[in-house]
């Protein structure tokens, strides 16, 4: 094993890997959108008065938190088409990217739902009562009084969850999507693995840099949003 590593070549790989960046961002944004929408439904279910819906929401969250994303991907990507074929539905037309987006939306929705629930409950009860007392109806009170405060409380957790989701997009390569890591693997394979360590370090640096930017964005957004607002947590 007389292999030596050429660490000076690392920066050179970054532009090539970044060619796959748009796809990674597409996966991130769509998963974020669907994940948040799904989480909103689950949160409504868990906060409502319906006992059955409460149990379903709770069960959904604990199921999604228990299953590794990789297993969920295999289950949906390899297992689901088999079941669907059994009942006569052909799923071969669905793109690999769509599977990944579906899996990441499902797995992230549990974390988002927990975040939404906690932020909603963190807003002081008196706020709702005050809104009612000036004649606001349920949804108006939520939209104008509760939500803006809950959102402010949720920003740090939202930022963290988005960073986690971004890191999870790296699993797209497991079904053959050419995202950032997929591209890196292809580059490593093209050189018969001679530059694999350099390529993976370059990929790691890209993820680190983007996470760093996301964290800074989240911090400054939190500052801008909560500026001038009084914290009304219970």
């Amino acid at each position: 094993m007389g292999h030596t590593y050429d660490f000076a070549s690392i920066p050179g790989y970054i532009p090539k890997i970044m060619q796959a960046f748009p796809l990674t961002i597409e996966i991130l944004l769509l998963s974020l959108l669907f994940g948040l929408a799904l989480a909103a439904l689950v949160t409504i279910g868990s906060l409502g008065r319906n006992k059955v819906l409460n149990a379903v929401s709770k069960g959904y969250i604990s199921f999604m938190r228990g299953i590794p994303t990789l297993v969920l991907i295999f289950l949906l990507y390899l297992g689901l088409p088999q079941i669907m074929q059994g009942i006569g539905v052909d799923m071969s037309g669905i793109s690999k990217t769509a599977y990944i987006i579906a899996c990441l939306s499902l797995s992230s929705s549990a974390n988002f739902a927990e975040m939404m629930r906690a932020s909603y409950l963190a807003v002081d009860k008196g706020q709702r009562e005050a809104a009612y007392s000036v004649g606001m109806k349920g949804f108006t009170a939520f939209r104008r009084i509760i939500f803006p405060q809950a959102f402010g409380i949720a920003i740090p957790a939202l930022g963290n969850n988005i960073i986690m989701l971004f890191k999870e997009t790296s699993l797209a390569f497991t079904v053959g999507v050419i995202d950032i890591l997929g591209k890196a693997r292809a580059m490593s394979a093209a050189s018969y693995g001679t530059n694999r360590l350099e390529v993976y370090i370059a990929t790691g640096l890209i993820f680190w840099a983007i996470c760093f930017i996301l964290e800074k964005l989240s911090k400054s957004f939190e500052k801008a949003y909560t500026k001038g607002r009084k914290k009304a947590t219970s």
Binding site: G66, I67, C211
Partner: protein, 236 residues
């Protein structure tokens, strides 16, 4: 449609893979959390230079996906080990190193970074007055830390550590990609020949759900037992 014969046949093999998953998780958590506590203490006490290095390490670990850390560990560590072996004049057979070591190393460093943040916030949540009270009865700094501050900090940290550990168990499934035959990899191996994916992954899912459920309960119990340390803590 569902091949029950396959399920019956493959359950023993899957159950045999559970200890591999758990071993990785325990080893990574034990070593990683100890390291994390060290990092937290270093950063809390603002030890010059080391604390800055730790900050960069934590930021890197938190910014890079587990799978990339696994690859880096898998491809970089053998070279380091080999070169070390040569420097002491021995040729080390790299094939003798089990793949699980690379996985544990990557998982451990990841745990160290995340747990250090948990310990750091737990340590700062313990009231300053506790430390002063220790000094006033003549304890040394390390006595105060071990006997008074750490038990209280642990009680605060346990709920977050529980979440971290459950994430770690899930993270071990990625060790598949560096050639460790844990639960996910075993399921894949079993499913491949006759394409029994749905059966294999449903079983895998059930196993992971059971593991999560058990550890969730264990950590809850732990939380309740540690509650006695919480009286008077976190007055801030």
């Amino acid at each position: 449609m569902i091949n029950f014969g396959f399920i019956v046949q493959s359950v023993p093999a899957l159950i045999k893979a559970i200890p591999v998953t758990l071993l990785m998780a325990f080893a990574a958590a034990a070593a990683g959390w100890l390291l994390g506590l060290g990092i937290a203490l270093i950063r809390k006490n603002k030890v010059p230079v080391i604390s800055q290095i730790c900050a960069v390490f934590v930021s890197f670990m938190r910014g890079v996906p587990m799978i990339i850390l696994l690859y880096i560990s898998y491809y970089a560590l053998p070279v380091v080990v080999y070169n070390y072996g040569m420097s002491i004049g021995r040729e080390i057979d790299l094939n003798a190193i089990p793949a699980v070591l690379y996985a544990v190393l990557a998982l451990m460093l990841d745990q160290a970074a995340y747990s250090s943040e948990i310990f750091r916030s737990a340590l700062s949540a313990v009231d300053e007055g506790q430390m002063e009270a220790c000094y006033s009865v003549g304890m040394t700094k390390s006595q105060a830390l071990i006997r008074i501050v750490l038990p209280q900090a642990m009680a605060i940290a346990v709920p977050n550590l529980s979440g971290l550990f459950l994430g770690l168990v899930k993270g071990t499934s990625l060790a598949y990609y560096v050639g460790v035959y844990e639960i996910t990899a075993t399921a894949n191996l079993l499913a491949m020949p006759a394409l029994n994916f749905i059966e294999a992954y449903v079983m895998t899912t059930i196993i992971y759900e059971i593991i999560s459920f058990i550890f969730n309960k264990l950590f809850r119990g732990c939380e309740n037992r540690l509650k006695r340390f919480r009286a008077g803590a976190s007055a801030a």
